[in-house]
């Protein structure tokens, strides 16, 4: 598999975004990141990338609870969207929920690689990035 070059963060919490960006930079300084504040922004952003002939992210960190379009809606919308190469994106749900129901529901989506309870630790992030590469 190719090296992870691009990561997407879908989260509405500025603190999470700040922390994730910082952590990603620490693990891999060359990594390119996209930040979308909710599901709808993410879908539109992904479409824009395809339209402009730019590559899709290799990995996406997806929050569940967001305004406008939440993580669940994003997963649905992604399934319906025509985005060539979308199946190669590895999606990690990153949520503060410790509800097992949420975890099960998230893992029912075959696009979702894993359900990670916030906060994401550096060791786990390294693992994800190396596993995907």
């Amino acid at each position: 598999m190719n090296k992870i070059r691009i990561a997407g963060i879908v989260d509405d919490d500025p603190i999470v975004i700040f922390g994730m960006k910082l952590m990603l930079k620490q693990v891999d300084a060359d990594l390119q990141t996209h930040v979308w504040n909710n599901g709808q922004e993410a879908i539109e952003g992904l479409k824009a990338l395809v339209e402009n002939g730019k590559p899709l992210p290799d990995v996406i960190f997806l929050d569940l609870t967001m305004p406008i379009m939440d993580g669940w809606d994003f997963l649905d919308a992604l399934q319906k969207a025509t985005l060539p190469g979308k199946e190669k994106m590895r999606i990690f749900v990153l949520s503060s929920s410790i509800n097992p129901v949420d975890r099960e529901r998230a893992l029912e989506n075959k696009e979702v690689i894993d359900f990670i309870v916030k906060p994401l630790k550096e060791a786990r992030l390294k693992e994800i990035l190396s596993l995907a590469s």
């Binding site: 603190i15 922390g19 410790i98």
Partner: protein, 607 residues
Amino acid sequence: MVQTSIPIYDAPFAVAILDHDLNFNAISQRLAEAFDLDDSFKGKSFYDLQHRLPEELYLDLHLAKEGISRKSEPVKFVHPDGEADWYEWKINPWQNGKEGQKVIMLILEKVTYRMLGEDLHQRAQRMARVGSWVVDLKKNTIYWSEMTKEIHEVPMDFEPNLETGINFYKEGFSRDTISELVAKGIEHGTPWDVELILVTQKGREIWVRAIGEPEVVNGKCIRISGTFQDIDSRKRAELEAKKIRERLEIATDAAKIGIWDFDIVNNVLEWDDNMYEVYGVPKDKFNGVYQAWEATVHPEDQEWTSKYVEETIAKRDRLEMVFRILWHDKEIRWIHGEASVIRDMEGNPLRMIGANWDVTAQKNAEAEMKHLLNTTTYQNESLMNFAHIVSHNMRSHGSNLSMLTDFLLEDRITEEEKQNALQMLKRAANGLNETIAHLNEVVQIKTEAEQNMSRINLHNVVHKVSQTLEALFEANKVALHIDIPEDCLVMGVMAYVESAVLNLMTNAVKYRDPDKEARITLRTECREKRVVLQIEDNGLGIDMKKNGEKLFGMYKTFHHHPESRGIGLFITRNQIESMGGTIVVSSQPGKGSIFSITLKKPLPAHE
């Protein structure tokens, strides 16, 4: 030639004179009529009638030729078509003078009618199992008919006497009664007709009807005759029916089930005692017509119940309904009613019979249960929301704090990043603090609402709140319309009503459409027991399909959008519901939203 010295023709019975060869010599008119014989009978043979008469008659005629007289019992003759006739005859051989010809005199009577009558009588007696008996007090003998013996289950050669007769009655009431009646009969000639228990020879107990008719001559009873009927099956059925009726009465009394019987044709409504109790109507105040029942029914239930009863009488046979009545003209009670319609052969309704009982207790229990279920569901939902806040919102702040402190402690970050992280840390700490404050607020709603309910003037509340928001309205150029009557009262907690109005008006300003002139309208709508307060805006609106369900939940809460509806609507809903009210929203994206708060009206003051 035959000398007709006897004027046979006019004889008042059917008679024929036959010669030795059984040819007719003379006949009486009665015989001619009985066998349709005309004048040409003379010289004809009696054998011509052989196909219409019993064989025994001809045998007897042959004997007569030998000089033997015969007198018969009634003999049955069955015609080819199955009809039967009975004949009785008397035959005398007779010599006409000393030298005269031997002739045979035959008296032949058709006794069909008499026999049929006797036969029917006997059969009827046998079928009805009626036996007879006679006690001759002069000769001191007693006679029992065959059926009487059969009923007693004694052999036909049984010889009863008065004492054994009485001893067949069951010891105790039956025997005492018959002894007394017989004694009275002998002494005073008093007849009797009683139903008593007999113990047969075989030891079987059966019910009999005993009738005795003493015959008194010169003030002295000489004979008693009577009948004796086996009425066991009828009596037992009757006793069984009585037992069931009594049991039913006990059951309906105990269960307070009222039974009624409505004569549809004559409009006569009969109630049993329980009905009066169930309906709380004094007996003397009920005039026994359909309309009297109708008048007891709760005004709101009168129309549909009457319609249902009419429909049942017209089209159906069974009725089952639960309705309210005004018990003793004031208290509402629930009645369960069931009834059947009885029709004539043509299907015309004749009567309606039914049962009514009070189901108020069940109804109340049911309502209580529903209320409990609603409360439980609601509380469950609240708990879920709580779990959600704790597991999600608190955790999100916690995880942020943890992540940020990790960065700060590791010291791998630049000074600028460190400053940013510290800013973030402050935000996260504030967020956590705020969340805990909100949680506290949510918990308090539950406990405080019920004690603090009072009458609130909605007009005053809305005007007060809009005054505090005046600056906000001016800054955003919002046009405010308030259309609430000055005397509009609701039951509620002042702080909650104020907070709800404030929250919804603030939201309306926040979510205004920047491309339109913002307009907010507040109006009330009075219902019978409730008041609806509507807060309408022409703002951005909400996509109800997507967010309708979540709007009042906590799913969208505690996000770091300064203008999130989040916790505000959740708390508003909780507060309104704790006052026994509801809040709903209708909205269309791009057109605006209408929030409708329904609150209870105060009960009318007691006079």
